[in-house]
């Protein structure tokens, strides 16, 4: 296992940037978010709650450095503040409820798209210029350019509202009690089909495009010609010799795309009323629940960084050349 200290530096700066944004943006914006939030609380505005909000958003008499230190101390103890909309619940509690659903959606969509997209890319490169390639490859590029909102709304209308094949909201049948049994699991999968299919076109498009160009250069290598000359079957050469080596850029791309995947899942969850982080973020932004919005950014940044780190580790295992630190 090898991760360069430079990569770790990048992650540290990214996390620091997200924290500093969270700290400064509310303090820079015109108008006082604090008053808005206290107004939001209404009758629930106990002196303790008001005090907590004031401290977090800088409406206190203290030097800015001291405020920042306090803020960092809060983060270190996983204290992200209290939710304004769901007061007295804390931000951590609100986010914890929805994180699993988003993870489930995103991980399922990525796995599904990774398999489909790389296969499509490998086949397109293998038969470059053929009918499959000329149809699938431009189509993939188009899929990247269509906003997820459009795909989500179309899928909702066609398969949810018109054909009634799939449910139009929620993560499972509200009549069921959550539990570990086949009926419940089936309901969860059934409700996840449309959101996952909505998240997938963008991912499949990205994976297909990257895989195709990477595979085209790999197929030009001598060892591929050697494989053919040995009389190996087309499938063995394509998958074992070509695709296996062409996967590396796809992994790099996956790490860079994670931010966009979260963006897509926010929109998808809102369209399908799916109880994940995206929907929480949306409700929070409508209610101007700033602490939740901030916690969200931190959580998603952490998730993206964690996933990047994971990709770095996997990359090091797959490609031993990286150990010399040249990348």
């Amino acid at each position: 296992m090898y991760i360069s200290s430079r990569r770790l530096g990048v992650y540290a700066v990214a996390l620091g940037f997200a924290i500093v944004m969270n700290f400064t943006v509310p303090r820079l914006m015109p108008g006082s978010p604090v008053d808005a939030m206290i107004a939001q609380l209404g009758p629930r505005a106990t002196p303790a709650a008001v005090e907590a909000i004031k401290a977090r958003f800088g409406a206190v008499e203290a030097p800015i450095a001291a405020q920042f230190l306090d803020y960092l101390k809060g983060l270190a103890t996983l204290d992200l503040g209290v939710s304004v909309k769901y007061y007295p619940q804390t931000v951590t509690e609100v986010l914890a409820r929805s994180t699993l659903w988003t993870l489930f959606l995103v991980v399922t969509a990525i796995t599904f798209s990774l398999v489909v997209g790389t296969l499509l890319g490998a086949i397109a490169a293998w038969r470059r210029g053929g009918r499959f390639d000329t149809v699938v490859s431009p189509f993939s590029v188009v899929m990247i350019a269509v906003p997820p909102v459009i795909i989500a709304l179309t899928a909702l209308f066609v398969f949810g509202v018109s054909l009634r094949w799939f449910p139009v909201g929620y993560a499972y049948d509200p009549n069921l009690d959550p539990g570990i049994n086949f009926t419940f699991a089936g309901s969860v999968f059934y409700h996840a089909i449309l959101p996952v299919l909505t998240l997938s076109p963008y991912l499949i498009g990205e994976f297909q495009t990257t895989m195709r160009s990477s595979m085209i250069s790999v197929l030009g290598e001598d060892y591929v010609t050697m494989g053919r000359a040995k009389g190996l079957t087309a499938a063995t050469v394509m998958l074992g010799y070509g695709a296996r080596n062409a996967m590396l850029p796809v992994l790099t791309n996956l790490a860079l795309m994670l931010g966009a995947v979260f963006g897509g899942s926010i929109v998808t969850e809102i369209v399908f009323n799916y109880p994940g982080l995206g929907l929480t973020l949306f409700t929070a932004s409508v209610a101007r629940d700033y602490p939740v919005i901030q916690g969200q950014l931190l959580l998603m940044t952490l998730a993206t960084l964690g996933a990047n780190l994971l990709v770095d580790i996997v990359y090091g295992v797959i490609d031993p050349r990286l150990k010399d630190g040249s990348a």
Partner: protein, 299 residues
């Protein structure tokens, strides 16, 4: 430059893409002629399906969807293109300086680039937009441009580094050309194809981000754009009520910009990287290659 345009025009996909984009731009330009009447005027009953009088139907508020669609293209296209240009300028400048300067400047800029690259964009946009309240097109532009330059910066930086030690650049430095001249007169023209790819990609990204933000309700609800049309349609439960025209019109418009730009982008990629090309010459080459493989006894 001219020869590049010629190659572009020889590609069927690029021409199709350019025609789509040109048609949308013409529609935006001539909005007062092809859709006379104010887009926010109430002209009919609520959620009327398409008729001769209202070809795209009406919204929940009884506004004409066709008029809104035509007028909405103005802001959507203008913001998309302007933001795309802004992203490209920032990304190119940072990549160029980092790649050319090297050393500590490069290390710092590269660190910033990679860091902003891994921060999830949409949540960051939402944070900024929600503190700013509902924001006009200009603020949306600024927010998107400030968070999405790293892609272009990365590409430009690596290309600049590859060019930095070419003879013509070293020669220019030796005869005492100032740094700005080396950057803009010697290096920049060589980066044009890359800047083209960056620009088209950035416009695509800007359209996606702008639509997302407006759909989430961060746009100015009084401005008619394709994104706010989606937002209003969503808010009036158009989909559940089966008023597909209300969502369909802006969705088609946005999908069309995406389609047009993607077709151009696909061609740009093929021009910049001949390995990716397909077409008559490639088909011939592939046939020869297959024959060769067959004679080798392979697949």
């Amino acid at each position: 430059m001219i020869s590049g345009l010629k190659i572009l025009l020889q590609q069927k996909k690029a021409v199709a893409g350019l025609i789509i984009i040109a048609a949308l731009c013409l529609m935006a330009l001539f909005a007062p002629i092809i859709a006379p009447g104010a887009p926010s005027a109430r002209v009919g009953r609520s959620h009327q399906p398409p008729t001769v009088e209202h070809v795209f139907g009406t919204t929940k508020m009884g506004r004409d969807v066709y008029t809104q669609f035509v007028w909405g293209s103005r802001t959507s296209l203008a913001v998309g293109f302007a933001t795309g240009i802004a992203i490209t300028i920032v990304g190119t400048a940072i990549g160029l300086v980092a790649g050319y300067a090297g050393g500590r400047t490069d290390a710092a800029l590269d660190l910033a680039t990679n860091a902003v690259l891994v921060i999830p964009n949409i949540p960051l946009l939402i944070l900024l937009a929600s503190f700013a309240g509902t924001v006009g097109p200009l603020a949306i532009m600024a927010i998107i441009a400030l968070t999405s330059w790293p892609w272009g910066a990365r590409m430009t930086r690596s290309q600049t580094m590859a060019l930095r030690n070419r003879d013509f650049v070293i020669a220019a430095r030796m005869i005492g050309e100032p740094a700005w001249r080396v950057l803009f007169v010697e290096l920049l023209p060589n980066l044009l194809p890359l800047i083209g790819i960056n620009l088209v990609g950035s416009i695509i990204y800007a359209v996606v981000a702008q639509t997302t933000l407006e759909y989430l309700g961060f746009g100015d609800p009084l401005q008619v754009t394709w994104g706010t049309m989606l937002y209003n349609a969503q808010n009036s439960s158009a989909i559940i009520l089966g008023a597909w025209w209300d969502i369909g019109a802006p969705a088609t418009g946005i999908a069309l910009i995406g389609l047009g730009l993607a077709l151009v982008n696909f061609t740009f990629d093929e021009i910049a990287n001949p390995q990716l090309r397909s077409g008559p010459a490639l088909t011939r080459w592939l046939r020869l290659n297959r024959q060769r493989n067959r004679s080798l006894g392979g697949a």
